[in-house]
């Protein structure tokens, strides 16, 4: 096989690409769970986008209190009831989607931005540099992420920003592992070796030949990680280490709501359901994306 042949398979022509997309969508849309995931994620994104304009008591999300109507059960006015200072829980759950989306995106993006370059470097280089990167990665992976995140937030002090920093710091190593493994497998493919032999610069090789091969698994992992990051942030919020009042954040709402179980059950029930459905959505979407982009990985 000549070098030229291989180069061509990498650069697909335009009509072929459309056909490829159609095939992918067909795979994706055949799976109910993937569609459910897409639906949940879309609903979540839409609520995050238009939330402030559709909620009945927008001022409640900013900490406007109404002590005269505290802890009321769900009703036609307050769909999810009210909390201990009379704020509408429905409003706060909807607005909380913004907080959650923000946390999930930030943590995932930072993790990708740290993890992917390190993984590329570790995969492309030999010797001590790879050893250092991979060993540090191993150390971070050797402990449950949540424990490390708690130690970090405990040190920095509670707060939404610190929680995001802590989660990002424990999230990147997964990407290093993933990308490094992928790079190693691609590195010895003929077309990469060929490109090397004709004197292409390492940068060119990484960006033209190696990185495109890593995008699918990165996208799949990122989608899954959105869900996990949201779960992690909610866990920190639950422990009282995450978002601060009056900011509406689901984990923090449950953390306070748990004091009001069982009589005022609506306080912790609805934010919990919101977390569950959102994380479920991202997981199902991630699954669907994997089947679509990376059929070989299917388990």
């Amino acid at each position: 096989m000549s070098v030229a042949d291989n180069m061509e398979t990498v650069a697909v022509t335009r009509p072929d690409r459309w056909r490829e997309y159609r095939r992918m969508w067909a795979t994706f849309s055949r799976s109910y769970s993937a569609l459910l995931g897409l639906g949940l994620v879309s609903a979540f994104l839409i609520l995050a986008a238009i939330g402030p304009w559709i909620v009945p008591f927008p001022e409640d999300a900013l900490g406007s209190i109404h002590l005269e109507r505290k802890l009321q059960p769900p009703s036609a006015t307050h769909w999810f009831g009210t909390d201990e200072v009379g704020m509408d829980i429905y409003t706060r759950v909807i607005i909380g989607a913004r907080t959650t989306l923000w946390i999930g995106l930030t943590v995932t993006i930072i993790a990708v931005l740290i993890g992917v370059p390190l993984g590329l470097v570790a995969g492309m280089s030999d010797g001590w540099l790879r050893e250092v990167i991979m060993r540090v990665t191993d150390v971070f992976l050797s402990i449950p992420g949540l424990i490390l995140a708690i130690a970090i937030v405990g040190a920095l002090g509670p707060g939404i920003l610190n929680a995001m920093v802590a989660l990002s710091l424990v999230w990147w190593p997964g990407y290093v592992r993933l990308v490094q493994a992928k790079v190693l497998s691609v590195r010895n493919e003929t077309y990469v070796e060929a490109a090397q032999s004709i004197g292409a610069s390492p940068f060119r090789i990484v960006f033209l030949h190696v990185l495109p091969n890593c995008t699918s698994p990165i996208v799949v992992k990122a989608s899954m990680d959105m869900g996990l990051a949201i779960l992690g942030a909610a866990s920190l919020g639950f422990l009282g280490l995450g978002a601060q009042p009056p900011y509406p954040e689901w984990g923090a709402m449950i953390s306070i709501g748990k004091n009001y179980l069982p009589d005022w059950w609506w306080y912790s029930l609805f934010p919990g359901l919101a977390i569950y459905l959102t994380v479920l959505g991202f997981n199902l979407l991630g699954d669907g994306l994997r089947d679509m982009l990376d059929p070989k990985q299917r388990s």
């Binding site: 900490g63 509670p158 707060g159 306070i256 059950w265 609506w266």
Partner: protein, 533 residues
Amino acid sequence: MKMLSRLPNLLAAGVAAIALNTAPVAFNPANAAELVDNKLYMVIAGRQEVGHLDPAQKYDVAIRMMLQGLYDGLVKYEGNPAEIKPWLADSWSTSDDGLVWTFKLNPSATFHDGSPVDADAVVYSFQRTMEINEGPAWMLDGFVNPDNVKAVDATTVEFTLDRPYAAFLSFLPWWYVVNPAVIEANKGDDFGKSYLLENAAGSGPYKLERFESGSSYAVSRNEDYWKGFPYENDRMGGVIYRLVRESSAQRAALIKGEADLVTGLGPEERTALMDNDDVLVSTLPSLTSFGLKMNTKNGITADVNIRKALAFAYDYESFTQILNGEGKLQTSPFTDAIKGYTPIADMPTRDIAKAKEYLAKTEYPDGGFEVDYVYVEGFELERQMGLSMIDAFRDINVTVKMIPATWPNMVAMGSDVETSPDLLAIFTTPVSTDPDAVAIQYHPASHGKYFGSHFLDDPELVALIEAARNETDWAKREPMYHEIQQKIVDLQPEIFGMMRNRGTTHRKWVKGYADSPIRMEGEIDFYSVHLEP
């Protein structure tokens, strides 16, 4: 409401059906008090862990509660209002210059091992605490030298003070007497500090039975207590303090009868329990005050007019609303139970016009600035206060940034004038009813401590406080404290808040429960409580 709260049961039924099939036994303790060897054990469900049992080390509410059961002091606080009662000491006298205090011990007092509580033991205990220099050591620091605590004879102890100290006696209830023989036998290289972490060497009404760190702590009644008990109930066997960290679980344990007394419930939960026929919910005013300390030396609140403006903008009614009425607004920097308390006429109340008047005298006549509000992470009440503050300050165009901090971080912030926040939420329970215990909080001696985060340093006030604490004649002291209260209000180093009523929640078969406002919320005095199911 009733309908809705039952709704989830439908869901539960399904889950339960599965669970029942595999259930060997449901551990459902009999709906009566716990019995061990046919003796009644009272179960207290609390949230705060007991760190250790050494009277000479750091104390907090849980530690103090256990110590009061296991040990005796020379004197003891009892009743409402709190009074100092003779305990190990039958009587005492003071020299005319207020320097020499002589205590006569009760000759019948014995330690748990049967040996007498004599003057040597008292001297040993005071010197041990001063030597270790932790825990209550600060109370007598600078007033009593360890060498000046002397045993005159077997039942007489004499303290010679370096200078007169009006509050001296009011601190002694927190100095417990340990059994020197036991400490010496387990002294180690740290004066028995390690040994006393999980062991006791006292003479108190209860003996240590089990210390299960992080879980539960059991004490059994000392049947041969030298002082006897204030009730007739031979079936009373002991007390178990059990950690239950969620208030919902605490409440459930109380309703089920797994716990006889629970501490630290929130106002809503207490209100919900009032309908329960087996449970008694009652309240008592306490010494504890809740206030928002402002940094008077640094930042925007350094300007007294800003402080006044905030104080007049604050919505004081929300305090009592959040507490479902179980609180009382402060009418002086001193809480009602403090000796020498007097209501101050011009204590700020919510008055937006007045707040704006004060604001007009500042650099920010129209508001438009932000204040930081730092409070303890996870402290429900302080969080709700913050939310109500956001609402209240909106009326003078001031925004509030709520910053929850862990207790150590908060203490660290408050200990430095540069980092001390604009507003710091603080609950303070003075260790004594003597007015000096409150007044000293506004003296530079308190700078660096959490309740001194205002960094107030007013020469006139300082002179007044110092003069008042060195005076021993109450007739002369009282007017000085009236003046001090007025002066503190004028300087407005904090938004004076409220005295939260202390709540007690227990099964009706708990008898003899006696609270004293000097104790902290949830600090139960085991001595008089017993069960009569």
